[in-house]
Subunit: 315 residues, 6 copies
């Protein structure tokens, strides 16, 4: 009996026990008329088909996406592995398991990344931009650190929003130096750090922290407008001068670059233009990364939906 | 000597005195080396070239767009009328003249129109939507009643915003009845009445009330986002339920219909869709009206910029 | 035994008899090698899976879309209801059943609607436009009153074309008053009433009155061009002055607004512009209505094909 | 004194007399206060600036585009030639001059071209298509032979429509052979010969035969729809079977290929597709020809409006 | 027993033996737990489902797309024919069968077509263009003659590239005469003959000669750029003057007409424009041909992917 | 008398002598009938209108864009300064003046920038990429260092290409580290350094080093294709493996990102994607810089052609 063995490492004949995500769960009827559970078990390494014979509940479709403790044996059926489960129960509050082992998580040290992002926020010299950054991050810190960057396009894993924002802030820091004659580093950094913060309100997340859908305000207003409103309120409360508040709101409203990609207004100052380019750049690099991971060296990928083209993984 | 004669009615030989707009004013040098003022005088009926010989000031380019009192004689030069001015001075506070005679003004009874619009707002049964409407109109009433609907595309005359909003509210009232099974009249009317209210902040106006340019917040945020922010604040102060506030904000954010025409989000409820169509409809009808006025019956207009086509005035 | 019970009201255990549409019908072979009929029975309230065991005909795929009389019992299989048919035969000429109960039909009183539309046509003061309207309606009256408005996008039910035209004519009547200074009510109403009349020639309909496909002239010419030709001929026969005929033809040719949406020419007079907007408006409202009916309050719909977006049903 | 000398051949010092087109004509006032005529004289070889000193009429702007008889002397002013006119009068009915010398005319033998086109029409084997071709050509023959192909884009010279149609018919004849397995030569030829025939009704022409503007039916219906109507009527009168009439109408309605280029419907049969391509091909070749004539070998042209690019004339 | 009977001609009860393509091949498990081969056999006339009971190998998925010799009996299963195979083995080197019977092949006499194309190349009078043509054809002759014109859009059969090039060269020859005043026949013919020659490097082909995918250089550079490079090198080696080399490269780089269809530059000389139109024309005609073959007379096709529309096959 | 005073510093009454660019030069005739030269003199600081009275040559339009030595006096005419020239002659070979003072030049230390770029090239670890970089730079070094980055859009000053390439290489160096898990720094740097090198062949430059037009190969092939050809040849000569050569060619061919912006192929590997983004980013920042320099703080610019929008210069 092996405990919490990675699903990607399972082999025919393994007997296992541990905590996994019940990814799908359907009660079906066998040819002999008996109910059984056709399910799938997952951890962050992969997914395996699973069955419980003679099982009519209590677990079922309503438990999809939750953590269960299970015991079972791995066998092979028509060329693929399956897990025949002998015991299963929902995870309980006092169970000890690592959520990070179960759901896909950003490949960064989240705590260190968060501290680095805070330090970048503190490095803003303009007291007004710094204060808005601090306050908005404060209000959203827990959710902001955990949230994925999106539902499926890129960074759709726990801590993805933090990772995306951090990489962008690093690039902003460097490029503010390269184009120092026209870029106000403080404005650029503040805009970069806050640009997606309203995703905290835009996304609905599952108990495991993944994005399942968009909230009603997320659909009706969008995270650009909600972010600008949050900045406007915070700036008003902090007594930030009007023009600074406007510029920061403009950064958020325009960071999707083009109205056809969701920008409420087009970027009109150098920092807004640069922010929109850094956002494009970081999201593109992550999309490539995720697509290249599934492509053999020397081969082309399948068509990548988010790029509308296939890409090449050179050696 | 005739007083305040319409410029459109001037004839060769007229001697006139009255208040006009100094539309343009340039100090030039004649062939004989003497300064003279090459100007244009305007009222709402039209424009006439004007000259003051041997004149070096004090009036000049800095006074363009202001009201002056002048006396002069109409003569003909190379086939067109011109006004040779003998006296001119800026209008003063205690001068009595009608601004409505000088600047283009909406062809409606502004006071009656305003009362009709208020009555439509009061006819909203939902107390929350009605309260937001009242408050936002209250805060902006003076400016809202006077403002043009735009800079040049359509309704670009004093009271134009009021006229545009009123016609749309009438259409909204009718169509809410025609499609009563899916349209919430209260939401539609509230959205219609408030949809352009943030133009009060978006436009910079001349002393005569015409739009000269866009304000900085107008450019950086746009009247859609500013309107939604105003609604959000008002709704919060009034204790309006979240979903109603969201819907009303959504109406304003989406009323330009398509991101390529400036919508921050696309319309997602029936009332937002209908509002965007009523806005399109009323602006189209006004563009046609203004273009048809300059076209002979049985002829095609020149290409109308706002329509990107020429149009036909049938008999 | 219940007669003609609504399919939407069927429950496990019901025994029924009545007339239904045989929506689909396939002869299959059971595991035991015997033929059976896998079918679906429908009325305007819904659809139910149906089976006839040990049945090899005579009914089969060639009878899909016709009316049958059947008797059967409702049972439950893997969580869904199914109808086990014990007797079935084609409906015959002397059978008495209501077609309106079987096929989806516009939610209007068709006769009253038709009279209202005729009255609107009679209210046209210009004798030429009125005469063309009368004649064209006369020639197409039977088919025009029954026809759906389309194949699947919106108004795709019996009497749908009448309903669509009627609602548009009402809106045209109102808006002709609101924009009376530029709109010729007679031209607008005539164009509105006739705009889709050539769908009578464009659509191929099933015996039950639904659109199954487009006719050859429908595909090769389109209803815009065919409608304009019909108007041209009628106007010629009636001695209508050339310019009126041209304007009316132009209304029909341009009512899809933009060449990319099928307009043969772009609208060039105010009435054509307004007609195209009323058409857009009525079709949008109906699409929303049909999509909202399938959406829970407080939820978003699935992506609506005809709108290329999902929509929100607020409470 | 030289008579009817080509304008392109004029030199400083020439004294000339003859018939020319008064291309432009404006009455201006000289520095000394006297009126003079600033004009331009043209023949098919070119244009020259012209002046009549101390001239206040009767000729003026209202005579632009007409033929005049004039006498004058060529001189040089600031590096360009100008014609100082000493006598001028309108051409009269009994004046003898060659219109072909004055207006640009297609570089083909118009009579031979017309006969060749008729022969191609007669080579159609299908009696129905041949009969429609004959009748429609018959009704329009005078105007069809003289008309330019357009207002300014290409073939905008006398006989241009004939030349364009002839070249296309030759290409159609060849390509019908190359793709004989899918192309019905009769349908293709008939469609090609008739595709632009309604330009006879679409264009308004000057007395000299050039296109000055579009007619009201030309704007409101377009030559595609008018051509299809003409074919439909002719086919009906001749008893042509419905499907043939539809196909021929479809050829005309779709020959602009794409709705965004004015097609009322998209080509749906092989002959319509091919016709639209032959039309594109012949117009492109003529646009190149006209642009290359104004370009030096080894140089690029200016941006060619009709191509939205510049082109290269190789050696 | 019939030998190499066309698959399209098979009937229930036939016993056959011969060479076919093993189009698909999967090892499955029957209800009784025994392995069997579910396969498809094909020749150029069609495809048939095939089974080998109690068969676990050696043939399997790895042999898809190869030629096999098989023996079997045709029976009917649920309304469709299937082939029950009793013997099967891979084709061997000394087997005698006609590849042309097995794979789809262009409906031309390939040898005669090749000679005609060579003759057209030899008819180029300019020694430089002729020499480049000769050399490039020489280097690619074997592969060029056999290659399909593409993977699936059109001409995707053996000898397809030759057929496509030959038809285009014929059209080029004719049109160079029709537009002789602006078209350099030598440049046009050379460009036409070579325009797709780099498909020899762009395509990866199966042993049977069909295109299975694009090569790495094919994806990263494209056949336009590779073709231009090949011409540049050849021209350099042959001492062709720079401008001629540039023009020929330009022909190849621009023959897709518009950047959105893959052109590296837009056509800028008349020959390049014409080449791009001939390419469009020939590919369109072939797409129509292939779609019409699958459509009944008097009916519309399904939506043709390469045309994004359905088409009509008239009688 | 002041020597080589900056034109931007000239004041009414100055007497100057020095070397300037004769930016425009036209011989005109005064009212009194005498010839005079209406010219403009320029240095890198600005431009001033200039006149030489009673001057008929030898300098004239043919000398526009060359360096002249002149002496003159500054006066004011109708509110603007003008330079009345008393002596003027072409600059001669032995004149001593600084070209850098006369033509706009990149605001970088060109020699230091060049050394930094060479060092970045030398930092490439892969010997193949490094060798190609070295060789191509070597062949183009003189022209590459001096050339502007373009004709007018951005970096259109001497050393502009170097500056653009250098800034991009710095950004590439940084971003290769940030995305080290998917970016091959060697390929990215090589592609970045060489991406625009074929502008050396694409641009035609004036004697002063500014771009006056595009060369024939520049127009017919474009710098993307020419750059790829240069890399292909160099790689072949140096024995670089095929895949590396392909990748580097692909970088150059795709660096305009989208076919509609001139890319011959779309970027298909992460380095090509990143290069295209860095190019976009650096050109955008320079366009902003140049536009902001002409805009007052707190104001919006005029519409910037290269951005198709106006931009805001915040305080």
């Amino acid at each position: 009996m092996e405990y919490n063995k990675w699903i990607a490492d399972l082999e025919n004949g393994d007997e296992i026990e541990g905590f996994y995500i019940l990814k799908t769960a359907q009660i079906k009827t066998s040819n002999s008329g008996k109910p059984f559970l056709a399910a799938a078990a997952a951890d962050r390494s992969g997914v395996i088909d699973a069955k419980i014979w003679d099982y009519g509940g209590p677990l079922g479709p309503q438990d999809e996406g939750t953590v269960v403790k299970l015991r079972g044996a791995v066998s092979e059926y028509r060329g693929t592995l399956q897990l025949i489960i002998s015991r299963i129960r929902p995870a309980q509050e006092d169970d000890r398991y690592s959520l990070g082992d179960l759901v896909p998580t950003a490949p960064i040290d989240a705590e260190a990344g968060w501290q680095e992002l805070l330090a970048l926020a503190e490095s803003i010299r303009d007291p007004d931009y710094r204060a808005v950054c601090r306050s908005v991050l404060d209000r959203n810190s827990d959710r902001f650190r955990m949230l994925p960057g999106g539902k499926s396009m890129h960074h759709s894993f726990v801590n993805g929003l933090l990772m995306h924002t951090l990489y962008m802030a690093r690039a902003a820091d460097y490029l503010a130096g390269l184009y120092a004659d026209i870029i106000d580093r403080d404005l650029l950094l503040a805009g970069t750090i806050l640009h997606d913060v309203a995703k905290c309100r835009e996304f609905v997340t599952s108990p495991l922290g993944l994005v399942t859908e968009y909230s009603i305000p997320g659909e009706l207003l969008g995270h650009l407008v909600m972010g600008a409103q949050a900045v406007a309120e915070e700036a008003k409360d902090l007594g930030v001068p009007e023009e600074k508040s406007l510029l920061l709101q403009h950064m958020l409203l325009s960071h999707h670059r083009d109205p056809e990609f969701g920008a409420a207004v087009r970027p009109m100052c150098a920092e807004a233009e640069l922010l929109s380019l850094i956002d494009l750049l970081d999201s593109r690099m992550e999309i490539y990364k995720e697509a290249l991971e599934e492509t053999e060296p020397g081969r082309f990928s399948k068509r990548v939906f988010a790029l509308d083209k296939k890409i090449f993984r050179h050696r």
